[in-house]
Every structure is written in C-alpha cells, then in structure tokens.
Amino acid sequence: MQVGGLAQTVAPNSIFRKQVEALSGETISACFQCEKCTNGCPVTIAMDIAPHKLIRSIHLGLKDEVLQSDTIWVCASCETCTTRCPNDIDIAHVMDILRQLSRSQGVKDSQKNVPLFHSAFLTSVRWYGRLHEMTMAVIFALKSEGMTGLAKQANMGVEMMRKGKIKLFPSRLLAGRQVKAMFRQSERRQKT
C-alpha cells in the first residue's frame, strides 16, 4: 500500500493495532474500508494520510507512519467520521489516542503548534480552574513563534479589546485546588 505517497511493502503486525484498540476501546479491525470517514472529513486536503488509510495503517502496524502523520494534528475533532462509520468505530476518539501516543514519541516540527496550543489551554485551566482566553493566547503565541507570534496575534487582540471581548483578569475560584489535583493525578499516572 501507499502511505504518505510512498509505496512500500508491509509485513502486517498486529501489536500496534492491539495497543490502540486497548487504549481506545474501539474495534479497529471492524473497518472494511468503505471510505465514508474520508468522504465526510472537512480537512482531508491538509492530511498526508486520509482517515480510512490511517485506520488501515493502524491495522497493518505502521506505527511510526501513523504517529508521525500530519493527519492526527490536522483533524479538527468534528466527529463526522465517528457519526457516519457503519461499523461504529469512534474514529475521532482514535485520533485522540494517537495524539496522546504521539506526544510521548516526539511530534514533528511542522505540527508542533497543535500540542503547544493544547498545553497553553490546559496551563491556563490548571492555574485558574477555568480557561482564561488571554492567558492562553499569550502563552500559545510566545511558545509557537516567540515575539513574532505575539505581534501577529496583537492586532486581533486590540480589536477584540476595543469591542469589550477580552476579560483582562482571570476568575479566582475556590475549586482551583481540586482542578490542580486532577492535573497532578493525571501526571502521576502518565509517569507510572
């Protein structure tokens, strides 16, 4: 088969499929390649491996190709594939699992903005218990492109501020401690 435009001979190996199935609870092996997922996907144009091929690649055990694909980071989590799959495979959830696996393996540079966005988002939630949009936007801009990134976002920021859409200070919550504890527990689990 072809993955990312490269023809290669593949010796199927079920280890990776079993790992993804165990983590996601989804039956990857039920896929019969009807391509419904791909046909409804709004962002295939920016993907290197179309969704149905990604599922097939998991089946074949092409772990590196899958975890280093653009596809898993370009996916918008729109849930169309999940809704339409005739075999009830929650493909959007499989994408989540692949992103989680990919992070520990190192994400390629061209896609690193996506995990940076998610970590900026969660940093703000961890600090304040709620998302503070401005904190998230500033952390993301700085981490993705440094001062250039900040300058790029600044125009939109100023316009939004003028319209009263920016909340300057985060809320202070009593529940902040409970949320921090959830993050700590999640980290402990990932280390073990």
Partner: protein, 284 residues
C-alpha cells in the same frame, strides 16, 4: 421554571454577548437560571486530546455538581455540551473517574441551549412575547459540529439536519432558508494552529450562506460565532472579496424580537457589523 446553568469559559470572555443575551431572554421567559456554584473548565478542546482520563475528570466535576441539584442543566457552548455529555455517560456507567468519588443519581438531563429553548417554551408563549417580529430577515441557522455529533452521545434526533434553531427563528418571524451546511465544521481551534485551513472552511460557510439567499447566519456556539464573525476581514483580504455577513447568536435575535433594550449593546461587540442590516430591515 428553575434550571441549572453551566456558562462555560468563553461566555466569560469573547462570548460575553451570548451570556448576557441568554440570561436576559431566560428572564423574560420566566426561567430562573441557577449557575453551578464554583464551576470549572470542562476541558473543552484540549483535555481529551491530552489524556482521556483528565478530559473526563475535568468535565465530570461539573456534572456531579449538577447531579446534586438534580435539575436539568443548560449548556450554551457546543464543545462544553459534548464534554459534559461524555462525562455523564461515564458517570452513568459507574466507571471510575480520577479525583471523583461520588454516587451518581442521574435524574436530570443535560441540554444544549438551542434544544432547551425550543423544547421548554411553547410556541404560544414565545409568540406572545414577540414585540418586534423578525420579518424580512433572511437567515440560515448554523449548528456546527458538537451540538449534534456524535448522536450516540448527544442524543440528537436528526444529527445531519437539526431543526431547533430553524423552528425558533421561524416562530420569531425570520425567513429561514434551507442549506446543507448546518453541521459542517468551522475549523474550531484550527483557527489558531492551522489558520489557513480554518479560513477555507469559514469561507465556504460564508459563501454557501450567501448562495442560500441568507443575509445573516444564526449560531448557538461561541467557537462558531467567533470563527465566523472575527475572520471576515482576513478572508476578504486573502480572496479579494468583500465579506460582511452578520453572525448572530440566536439569543440576541430572541432579545431583539422581545424588544429587550440591551440588544444594541450586545450587537456592538461583534467584529462584523450587524446594525446596517437590521436598520435596513427596519428592525433597529
């Protein structure tokens, strides 16, 4: 009627006008909203991408607060709605959730705002409140992804062709057009990480709304509103067009139809002008 209410983080910031309009409209209709005490972020776009367990835990904390009250929970943001529904499913199944030890009762429903307002208030009551019918307003209703998908979690009856906002707006007098992009994706947070991809998706929606004969788009999600409303300048710049289609929250138009005086203040917060159209239609 008294119900629980989870505003979610965006309604405190970029979607302030959604919060204010929703709360005003509820008040006019005699619905008392009880904001969940000390609610926290549901994890939204990032929790489930980072860790399944953390994603569920962040949302479940709020579902548990609502469970203790036992009244239906109103959720205005589509992403929050799906996260809370996902956590509800885990709680109902009795699955172990990190950081939560609680015996779940489950005697209440989680409702997205579009469904809630359509189901909870009869057509008669709505019509009786209308002071200024939205006659002449040609609109398409845009639901985005997560109000209906995936239906096995959201419980949506008609996931590819939802009707709640269409029916609400028709009752208020708007001329609601048919289109096949109701539940297409606006790109969500790709607008920050892959802006080119998101802008293409947004452009498609704006183009298709126009083709359907609409002069505005009506939404019920802060992410959809923000993507459609705030990027029209960039899209015009890149494509040489002149995009200027007002993007209304359905609650703002309810406020307008009910003659709520704060409507002008809400509309002032949009980046794409809304007032020229409403004046032209004699609605403002």
């Amino acid at each position: 009627m008294k119900i629980s209410y989870y505003p979610g983080c965006s309604l405190d910031g970029t979607a302030r006008e959604y919060k204010e309009s929703l709360e005003s409209v509820a008040k006019i209709l005699g619905i008392e909203l009880e904001e969940l005490h000390d609610w926290t972020c549901c994890g939204a776009s990032s929790g489930h991408v980072t860790s399944d367990k953390l994603g569920v835990a962040l949302a479940a904390r709020n579902v548990v607060i609502a469970d203790k009250i036992g009244k239906d929970l109103l959720v205005p943001c589509a992403a929050c709605f799906l996260r809370l529904k996902t956590a509800e499913k885990e709680l109902k199944a009795g699955n172990q959730i990190e950081g939560i030890s609680y015996k779940y009762q489950g005697g209440f429903n989680i409702k997205h705002s579009t469904t809630f307002f359509r189901e909870a208030i009869s057509e008669k009551v709505l019509t009786a409140r209308v002071k200024k019918p939205l006659y002449g307003l040609n609109a398409v209703c845009y639901y985005g992804c997560l109000v209906t998908r995936p239906p096995k979690i959201t419980g949506a009856k008609n996931p590819e062709d939802p009707q709640d906002m269409d029916e609400l707006m028709t009752i208020l007098g708007a001329s609601v057009k048919n289109w096949s992009y109701k539940t297409d994706c606006c790109g969500g947070n790709l607008i920050l990480t892959h802006p080119e991809i998101a802008r293409n998706l947004i452009k498609k929606l704006l183009d298709m709304a126009e083709e359907a004969g609409a002069d505005c788009i009506i939404v019920g999600c802060p992410m959809c509103q923000s993507n459609l409303d705030t990027r029209q300048k960039e899209i015009s710049r890149d494509n040489g067009g002149k995009y200027s289609i007002p993007i209304f929250y359905f609650t703002e138009l309810m406020g307008l139809a009910f003659g709520e005086p704060s409507t002008g203040k809400w509309l002032n917060r949009h980046l794409t002008d809304t007032k020229a159209l409403l004046k032209q239609k004699g609605l403002l």
